[in-house]
Symmetry: C2
Subunit: 143 residues, 2 copies
DNA sequence: TTAAGTCACTATCAAAATGATATTAACATG
DNA sequence: CATGTTAATATCATTTTGATAGTGACTTAA
């Protein structure tokens, strides 16, 4: 998909590193604590070829970090970096959208691990406090 | 990418309709007011074959609506549905991530159309008010 | 000591998706 | 009638995917 990354748009920039479903699902699983190749493979039912490539890309892009957890036999796992952890809100919000518009049948729920209460994710503008989408947005192009 | 949609996970559900970069960029442009085939094509530099398919999928999935704006010659445009509009927060949050971690060089800014102030998007849990990512999350599987 | 298992991959190859380019259909305009 | 506009298709090479099998470096159980 060519050079989206030199676009001015931060959304396009984001999409160049994490613009496909597998990558997002890997990040989801990583956020839930998975770290190993086989954990991801089994959880996602993804072909190992694809998984290898996705993990490599996410590592190059700085969302995951390869860490050796055993010297003999040599084994690596993948842990989230700060950038990877900070992607979680995007996923949670995507999930909230999915729940609202594709929520037929049984569905997993995300709950606060301490209170046990279900999370109700919303995006707000920290400046005005307004829910995003309730006020019109304009793009200010650079220069 | 097989049947993600019958997964229990709302994130996976979301990804089945909007799980690729082009779809998200189309939604971004639609949120900024674009409606016509050629507007999307020029804005994105996307091949018309792909654009046709993406628009059709987004329409089937209920994020866009085809609307005839001219009878002679017959011409259709694409406008966001409620589901499509509600996807904007996800994009804005993705953009915030892109700005933070891929923000080198000049970058567009999203501003409140009324106040003119730059938007600072955050995802919060409406229940606790806590920023998402600051408290551990658990998945509650159905049944 | 050998057989079986674990785990993070790579090799191979068919099938599907993408993307570039050209073309079409249905008109309006000069 | 020639040219332009606009929402697409047609064609076809390239790229990406995905399924399946196999590998290397071990550990563990018999």
């Amino acid at each position: 998909m060519k050079n989206l990354s030199d676009a001015f748009c931060p959304i396009a920039r984001g999409l160049t590193c994490v613009g496909d479903a597998w990558s997002m699902l890997i990040l989801r699983d990583a956020s839930l604590g998975l770290t190993r190749f086989d954990e991801f493979r089994k959880s996602l039912g993804i072909a190992p070829t694809i998984l290898t490539r996705r993990l490599a890309t996410l590592t190059e892009e700085g969302l995951l970090e390869k860490r050796r957890y055993s010297e003999r036999p040599p084994r690596d796992e993948y842990v989230l970096t700060a950038a990877g952890r900070d992607f979680l809100p995007v996923l949670i919000l995507l999930g909230a959208w999915g729940r609202q518009y594709r929520g037929e049948g049984r569905l997993a729920r995300y709950v606060d691990a301490e209170t046990g209460e279900e999370i109700e994710p919303v995006a707000v503008d920290a400046v005005t406090g307004a829910k995003i989408g309730t006020r019109p947005i304009r793009v200010a192009t650079p220069e």
